[in-house]
């Protein structure tokens, strides 16, 4: 295992640590959540608020749907050589009433998943650079 430091692939989009959360915002007036963060204008047509607070989103949810990537995506994706297919899930967050996409952790295939299955958010490497390991949020079957 590499001794390089782990840093977020995208700065400020999730907390670090064993129980990570995505970081979104919530409209102070109407309660609508936003991920990625939205802090300038509320997109709820019934609300014209410009006040938002940063919030940690639920780190568990249920699978809305899932697939995989059998071919290497183009840049800016940084693919290992040889390319290893990876699984992708869209997960419905109950409290936030929204669906968030992400890769599924290594070793889990589409055969392991089902719509409605409970999932939790974890961190895993997206790719390595010379200096560090870029980690991002991924979905993992709950309790795995």
């Amino acid at each position: 295992m590499s001794q390089k430091p782990q840093v977020p692939a995208i700065e400020g989009w999730h907390t670090m640590g064993a129980q990570p959360h995505l970081i979104g915002t919530q409209c102070e007036r109407c309660g609508t959540y936003f991920f990625p963060k939205q802090s300038d204008y509320c997109r709820n047509p019934q609300c014209d608020s410009t006040d938002f607070r940063e919030v940690e989103l639920s780190r568990t949810g249920q699978i809305w749907s899932y697939t995989n990537a059998c071919y290497k995506p183009p840049a800016p994706y940084v693919a290992p050589e040889p390319f290893v297919p990876f699984t992708i899930a869209a997960v419905q967050l109950e409290k936030e009433q929204m669906v968030v996409l992400g890769q599924v952790i290594e070793g889990v295939t589409v055969e392991d998943l089902k719509v409605g299955m409970p999932m939790e958010l974890v961190l895993e490497a997206l790719h390595e650079t010379d200096d560090d390991i870029k980690v991002t949020w991924k979905w993992q079957p709950l309790g795995q």
């Binding site: 990625p36 697939t67 059998c70 800016p76 992708i88 929204m98 669906v99």
Partner: protein
């Protein structure tokens, strides 16, 4: 007060990978449509172009580009960009001009040349651009269509065989369309043997991108009568509505949906909302529809559209397919042009190509693809950034 306009002429440059400038395809389609209408170019008072964003400045001002190529004659021009719905929005602009009385006959035209390979986002570290983010995380265009397809399998019991059957159906009828790019009849075995791209979608479940051009000559009903075309098919409705917050389906290029957590907000499915305005405007319902041209970016998406157009209850499109109802000769034929499966997508031309097919069908000129007695047809498509359209043509 009728919102109807007449479709006097239609034309298409065959779809393919011809490697020419997009203007050439648009001019060919426009000239065919003018000849079909029997309207001299000099009589066209409004030129409405669908923009292409892949061909530099001439593409951004497509209406003017086509007008110049056909020979400046003083017409007013418009260019519409609405992703996959660009053609419909260009048609809507022409309809507005005609219904307001400012123009009696207009040319609507869209054409595209597509580059080879992936359409990758600009480089650098740009987390503010959702398109950059999703590619960085490994989420490509087929990801989204595969998510929709897999959801159908888990919720409704659709199978890989159902998706393959859509391809087989469309390739069979598309093989009879001289303007289609792919004219081979594919079998279920061919589909099953093609490479998996994004499970459950294989290479042959996903449409390609193509070069192509399509054009319409549209006019007021009075103008149509004046030139002896009172019975020409009519545009009965054009819907280009945006989604309603909170959009419940994760759409390219976003990484998440809207949140429906606020009081008074409900999750809404965008695709299903598109035909609602079209049906209302036309004063027609799903039971009046004889055929549909829908945006089959994937085989499974054709099944979603059938339900979105209310041609089958939610979850039952595959049953319709299995019964042969959506094939030529069935109760409600879908994509008798061959659809995107046989054409490949030429973005600003595609929504117009759908209207071309409906026009030939309603005139009884579709040859081996003819839907017997077709009187009402509907189109549906959806593109990026809240763009989509549904057009109803009737005779």
């Amino acid at each position: 007060m009728s919102n109807e306009i007449a479709i006097l002429g239609v034309g298409m440059h065959p779809w393919g990978k011809w490697g020419h400038n997009f203007v050439q395809y648009g001019v060919a389609a426009a000239r065919e449509a003018l000849a079909d209408a029997g309207v001299p170019w000099q009589d066209i008072s409004f030129v409405s172009g669908g923009a292409t964003i892949r061909c530099g400045y001439p593409g951004y001002v497509a209406g003017a580009t086509f007008a110049q190529a056909l020979g400046w004659q003083g017409a007013e021009v418009n260019t519409s960009y609405a992703a996959c719905a660009s053609g419909s929005q260009a048609l809507a602009a022409a309809r507005n001009k005609i219904l307001s009385g400012e123009s009696d006959v207009a040319l609507v035209v869209g054409a595209d040349t597509t580059p080879k390979g992936f359409l990758a986002p600009a480089g650098g570290y740009r987390p503010d651009d959702p398109d950059w983010v999703r590619f960085y995380l490994g989420i490509t265009n087929p990801t989204y269509f595969a998510l929709y397809a897999r959801r159908r399998m888990d919720l409704y019991g659709d199978t890989l065989e159902d998706f393959a059957a859509v391809k087989v159906k469309n390739s069979r009828v598309g093989s009879k369309n001289p303007r289609a790019r792919y004219r081979k009849c594919f079998s279920a075995e061919d589909v099953a043997a093609s490479a998996m791209v994004a499970d459950p979608l294989r290479l042959m479940d996903i449409c390609a991108t193509s070069d192509g051009g399509a054009a319409l000559i549209v006019s007021s009903l009075e103008y149509a009568r004046k030139i002896g075309k009172a019975n020409a098919p009519r545009v009965a409705a054009i819907s280009t509505v945006t989604p309603t917050f909170a959009s419940s389906v994760v759409e390219m290029p976003d990484i998440a949906t809207d949140s429906a957590a606020a009081a008074g907000v409900e999750a809404q499915a965008y695709r299903a909302s598109l035909p609602v305005k079209a049906y209302e405007e036309a004063g027609l319902g799903p039971s009046d529809v004889d055929l549909a041209e829908v945006y089959d970016l994937s085989t499974a998406l054709e099944l979603d559209w059938i339900e979105d157009l209310q041609l089958a209850p939610r979850g039952e499109a595959a049953a319709l397919l299995r019964a042969g109802d959506t094939t030529l000769g069935g109760k409600i034929p879908v994509n008798v042009s061959g659809g995107l499966a046989c054409f490949g997508e030429a973005v600003p031309a595609q929504a117009l190509a759908q209207v071309c097919e409906l026009t030939w069908q309603l005139r009884g000129q579709a040859g081996d693809r003819q839907v017997a007695g077709a009187r009402v047809g509907i189109t549906a498509n959806q593109g990026l950034f809240g763009h989509g359209s549904s057009v109803i043509v009737k005779c």
